[in-house]
Symmetry: C3
Subunit: 137 residues, 3 copies
């Protein structure tokens, strides 16, 4: 069994961003030499997620609008008694799920035709980390 | 390490359907010969998901009703400027999560007593694909 | 390849609870002897989930309040025709996702700085089970 661990760092300019990382993940898979296996891509923070979506600008706007309505930024979350102001970002992480697991088949990420991997930042302008863990052969 | 990759194809008659695939996944696990491992079952599209739920008709109606209220079908999503009309299906995929990972223990899918695996179609009448990836020994 | 399967049992006093299980999962990882691999932690029931969140009381209150608003307990779900009264708990399981997969790196769970693992019970006072499955080397 082979295994590879790689960390990606992000510090976004905006509070909220969708950053396509498909190419970076593909590179890690290629360098791993793993032909058949699984690739976990997971946020190491509670205010960002890894999601799979279409890379279409209009759809991204729809997602942000829907997500903000579902988990609105507001002052009066109880979490904010700690001095934080990002409870909405925790809820956004919870609803979108922090991670995905992708198959590696014949040495390549086995993605569907429109599937792109995104780092979804819900409380940016801070250093955040994503772990990529590959196991296989 | 053993690995098996299998694709399931779907083309539903309706726009929205829940199709039980537990038996098909169990068959792939049995044929793999893997005794201990992990089984990823993941939608390769952005408008369908794999979910684990109880196979109870009333509950399925509750899920559809709740999901439609949460991510309503409507005309004016920005994604629809591309000619598509399925932005709600993308949101349904996002909220239900596209995939599950199940343990294989003593040669069998290690499911709880009422856990059944479903292919959840949110924008059917098109050809869609699901990947099953097993790794283990 | 090594593999370890372990079950955790829960029977909560309350209908809804968040129980931190990070320490128990770390113990299973340590005992497994696996240095590099993946650790799946998954609810075997449809009315509880495994989630990763911050262990902060105010945030937990925010999560429960938000989740109850999103998937309210009420009498008139169609699932209740079966005699059950927990359709809201099924929806809570669906929206929070039943499971997480975590990397094991250098013999340890590779968690971010504030990531704690929780068993989230949505319909307690019954015996429930969680599976931990580790594969690696």
């Amino acid at each position: 069994m082979k295994s590879v661990t790689k960390y990606l760092w992000f510090k976004t300019k905006s509070k909220r961003e969708l950053i396509r990382i498909t190419e970076e993940v593909k590179k890690v898979v290629a360098e791993s030499g793993v032909k058949e296996g699984l690739c976990l891509i997971s946020s190491m923070h509670l205010t960002s997620s890894i999601i799979i979506q279409d890379d279409e600008k209009g759809l991204h706007e729809d997602i942000w609008e829907w997500l903000e309505k579902l988990t609105p930024y507001k002052k009066d979350y109880k979490h904010h008694r700690t001095g934080e102001d990002n409870a909405d970002a925790h809820l956004k992480n919870l609803v979108t799920h922090l991670q995905v697991v992708l198959p590696i088949t014949q040495g390549k990420l086995d993605l569907g035709p429109w599937q792109e991997i995104f780092y979804a930042e819900f409380d940016g302008q801070r250093e955040k980390r994503v772990v990529i863990k590959i196991i296989g052969e």
